[in-house]
Amino acid sequence: MRSHTLLRGTAAAAVAAFLLVGCSPASAPSPSASGSAAPSEPTEPITLTVSVFNEMGYEGLVGEYTKLHPNVTVKLDRAATSDEAREKYMSGIAAGSGMADVAAVEVDWLPEIMESADALTDLTDPEVEGRWLDWKVAQATTADGKLVGYGTDIGPEGVCYRADLFEKAGLPTDRDEVAKALGSTWDDYFALGKQFSAKSDGVGWYDSADAIFQGMVNQVANPFSSTMPEETLIPLDQNTEIKAIYDKIMQSSADGLSAHLQQWQPDWQNAFQNNGFATMLCPGWMLGVIEGNAKGVEGWDIAPTFPGGGGNWGGSFMTVPSQGKNIDAAKELAKWLTAPEQQIAAFKAKGTFPSQVEALTSQDLLSVTNAFFNDAPTGQILADRAKAVTVVPFKGPNYFAYRAAISNAINRVDVDKTDTPEESWATAVSDVSALG
């Protein structure tokens, strides 16, 4: 930014809205198919772009689609992060052009784009009814019954733990026995933590207080706001449910259960290498993250349980923006990409866990084991964890910002140690009230 000229910097908002859009690849112009052809099968060669982010595991599937549909060439446009994808998506919707024909959306910012559902194609289709878990479909359905996205993956959570550290502290190490010892509620989880830290010199029970909050808040139906159609925020100082969770977590942190880390920061990544903590809440996609950070560390395993019932963290959808030129063909492609077979292939490639009912009982998926996690049957465990999910929080357009304010509050106490829990809560209350 330093070398930019004065004016470019100050006008960033306007420039980004109007110029960046011009830079993002538009779908290749296609000859307009004359009306006689079947709507979904183009008669002339067309190119469809699919915008994805992170690792969604579709690289190998693109060529396969062209084999099935010789007239369709599929091009992947991959953004490095979900944030980057979100920015492009928003700019594209705002400008009314420049978006991919099929565009991936992460569940965290799905509520924001649902506000402009008019710009998206209604994907309701009898053919796909019952394809996904009910709560997955509900997340992408508007108040008036419009389905804006086909589910790709989900993040059913288990508890990952270090069997070697458990053994040193005199706790069970076998994954089923660990699951039993962890009990069924968050109180049980914290109680076992106290038992653990009494016998382990300074090793954290969990990595980050904020990650625990993520786990707990995902089991509350209306954490921050009332339900559709209009999002009404609950002022934080009146939000007793969240305050109770906050207090419980702060107590556990004060009890010495926390490793005082913040997820994704270098300290957190390095702690995997020096026995920083013994357990972690882990959605399916986290297994790959742990394996990457804990390279060379032995003892990781996954317990088939989750405190307080099931929990889901993350997941994505495929949408079809209605500004595209080949909406029908794009919808067909989105439908194919999110079919159980393709999603299982993506799971095998990159570990994104399928959201399709049929995939959860597929032998292909259930037989998957993970060598790094002591050969745990991760396919089976995660499928069971997905079925245990009963509550999925309502996320309005302000969910992300509200959540961030509390995240910051927890980290100020747990990681930075600059505030007391009460001071930090007061700041969060004022941050949330600024959202209006």
């Binding site: 930014m1 330093r2 070398s3 930019h4 000229t5 004065l6 004016l7 470019r8 910097g9 100050t10 006008a11 960033a12 908002a13 306007a14 420039v15 809205a17 109007f18 110029l19 920015e87 928003m90 919707i93 705002a94 924001e112 784009i113 506000e115 402009s116 880390l261 913040q262 994704w264 920061q265 270098p266 300290d267 390095n270 702690a271 020096n274 357009p397 302000n398 992300f400 910002a401 961030a404 995240s407 910051n408 509050a409 980290n411 100020r412 990681v415 930075d416 140690k417 600059t418 505030d419 700041t427 004022s430 941050d431 600024a434 959202l435």
Partner: protein, 339 residues
């Protein structure tokens, strides 16, 4: 800009009608007058398109209620400005920006002048040293951010490891506000000191050697020569460097954004700068272009104010009190060039 004049018209052709000569003459007159503007026009046309238009348009957006996706929601008057100016986070961001700006610009300039003076001396392998100071500038800011982020990690970072091995307490680089500013300023200084040093070096080499020699003959010490001749004669360059670092420093974004993985400026916004605040309002939590544009315009005005202020200050500091360029006059002054 060669200017063919009617007087030196080619002599070879036979006498021409007087009318035609007059026509030619006025054409070339026109050429002389307008050509420079035509040559420079592309820049200004481009500037109008990518500079002036967004600037004016941002002002237009800032007085409207304007969502990232939802677009124009109607005229809002100065409500966006009022909202922004009433936010404690805005003032916090302003404070952080100035703190980081001062922590980076001041040591950076002093160091750059010093390095330039050293490079100006008779060194072996001059080009090697001169290119060497520019190497950090070549490293991408994001890479610098990643490296420094590791080095300044609170628990497992290199810097804290050194501190504790010296028996000092570790510093909460990502927890304490001032510490985080120091860390970010270090990143900025790492990248920009060499760049500024080279600019100042070029200016130093343009100082006539005989002036310095005259001073030495008059018995001035090296230090005295440096402060009484070199610094005052660097004045135009210093003004340029200070104004560009003011503009850049107040717009600082990359380094603080890369200082942690989340990029919001810390859990208590310890190192959130004004551009980061603008980004958060526009693309982050609120998706509100109206408010973000208001911040952009406030920042624009602040930068103009400070650039002018620095211009004025620099003119006073670096000049010897008179507009003269004669070095001998400078030498005669008793207080000449004192900072």
């Amino acid at each position: 800009m060669s200017a063919p004049s009617a007087v030196t018209a080619p002599p070879s052709p036979p006498p021409q009608p007087a009318q035609r000569a007059a026509w030619r003459s006025s054409l070339s007159q026109l050429d002389v007058r307008t050509a420079p503007y035509v040559y420079i026009a592309p820049f200004f046309l481009l500037f109008a398109l990518v500079g002036l238009f967004p600037l004016v348009y941002t002002a237009y957006v800032s007085v409207h209620e304007w969502g990232l996706i939802t677009g124009d929601q109607g005229f809002a008057g100065l409500a966006n400005y009022a909202y922004v100016l009433n936010q404690p986070r805005f003032w916090q961001a302003m404070g952080n920006t100035f703190s980081i700006f001062l922590l980076s610009s001041v040591p950076q300039l002093i160091l750059a002048i010093f390095i330039a003076a050293v490079l100006d001396a008779n060194l072996r392998a001059k080009t090697f040293w001169r290119m060497g100071v520019l190497v950090p500038y070549v490293v991408a800011p994001v890479a610098v951010g990643l490296i420094f982020n590791q080095m300044f990690a609170d628990q497992s970072g290199f810097v804290n490891a050194v501190l504790t091995s010296l028996g000092l307490p570790p510093v909460g680089w990502h927890a304490e506000s001032f510490a985080s500013h120091v860390a970010i300023a270090t990143m900025v200084n790492f990248r920009w000191t060499g760049y500024n040093a080279l600019i100042l070096l070029a200016a130093m080499q343009a100082i006539p050697r005989d002036v310095i020699e005259a001073a030495v003959v008059d018995g001035a010490s090296r230090l005295r020569t440096f402060f009484s001749i070199t610094i005052p004669m660097l004045r135009p360059t210093l003004i340029f460097v200070i104004i560009t670092s003011t503009i850049g420093g107040l717009q600082i974004f990359d380094e603080p954004r890369m200082f942690d993985q989340i990029g919001l400026g810390g859990n208590d916004r310890q190192w959130m700068t004004i551009t980061m605040y603008m980004y958060e309002l526009g693309w982050g939590s609120q998706r509100d272009f109206g408010r973000a544009s208001a911040v952009a315009w406030i920042l624009f005005l602040v930068i103009i104010t400070f650039a002018l202020l620095n211009f004025w200050l620099t003119s006073r500091i670096a000049s010897s009190g008179s507009a003269t360029t004669g070095a001998s006059r400078l030498m005669r002054k008793t207080k000449g060039g004192k900072r």
